[in-house]
Amino acid sequence: MSTTTDVTAAAPNLATLEAGQELPTMHKFPDEAQLFLYSAASHNPHRIHYDREYARFEGHEDIIVHGPLQGAWLTQFVTDWAGPAARLLGVTWQNRASGLTGEELVFSGTVTSVDAETGIVELEIAEHTSDGRLLMPATARVRLPLSSE
């Protein structure tokens, strides 16, 4: 259940940030233990996340990664990039397909707008499997610290 990020870059600088810039990708490797821990920590008893036979009975390929866990990863992807002084203002995600254990999940994103006066940056982000299957298209809004702060 490790996380890797391609570059450990410094927090983005509002003065040089532009629409079109890409965020460093983040990779997650969910396993059964992580799904179990997330079910427990989020108080989610839904059987499709721990009972393989039941998940298949419901038509899933295997036990599936929780939607809200993938959502939490999308927020982590943004806050890791933006740094601790930034504030995440919002995130939206659509559930297109289910992630499975044993798959590498890749988080990527692009800056879509930068407001240098307010520090508000909008992002288009996404979660794919490593073979390119789109699981969650998403957007995020984050406020970066102004240089005088």
Partner: protein, 163 residues
Amino acid sequence: MSESLIPAETLERVGEVLSGPVTVVVDRREAQRYAYAVGDENPIYFDEVAAQAAGYRTLVAPPTYVTHAVVQPRTASELRTDGLYREGTRIRLKVDRVMFGGEEWDFLEPVCVGDEITATVRLAAVDQKEGRKGPFVRQVRETTFVNQFGDEVARSRMIGIAR
């Protein structure tokens, strides 16, 4: 236009409170257990000095944790076969299957350890749409989270797709 999948009685319920208000205190260990389960080891969740250096009152909780913090304890005898709890409030639709479509979050103020959060869930919208695979219903359950200062700290809209 296809036949309506939304009974009149359901349309009349838009705006109704479906559950809550529920009030909980954000617990440090529970919030950290959640952050570890996600694999998000941001120091602002674990190190009070780092949290304050980043401008927070004290340790902060991961953004979406608040929705899990307010889950009420339930007896296992209320579990259905699929592992979910039987809901107190049901929304009637003329459909076979409801799927999780996605979620929209606004984070308005930080949620810190020790904060007292009150959550209220409302039926925000029920709309019928025409999709490629025929008509479907988009149902939005909105949860508002308010802290001990009376500030709204977050808003979540969970989108269900029913067909």
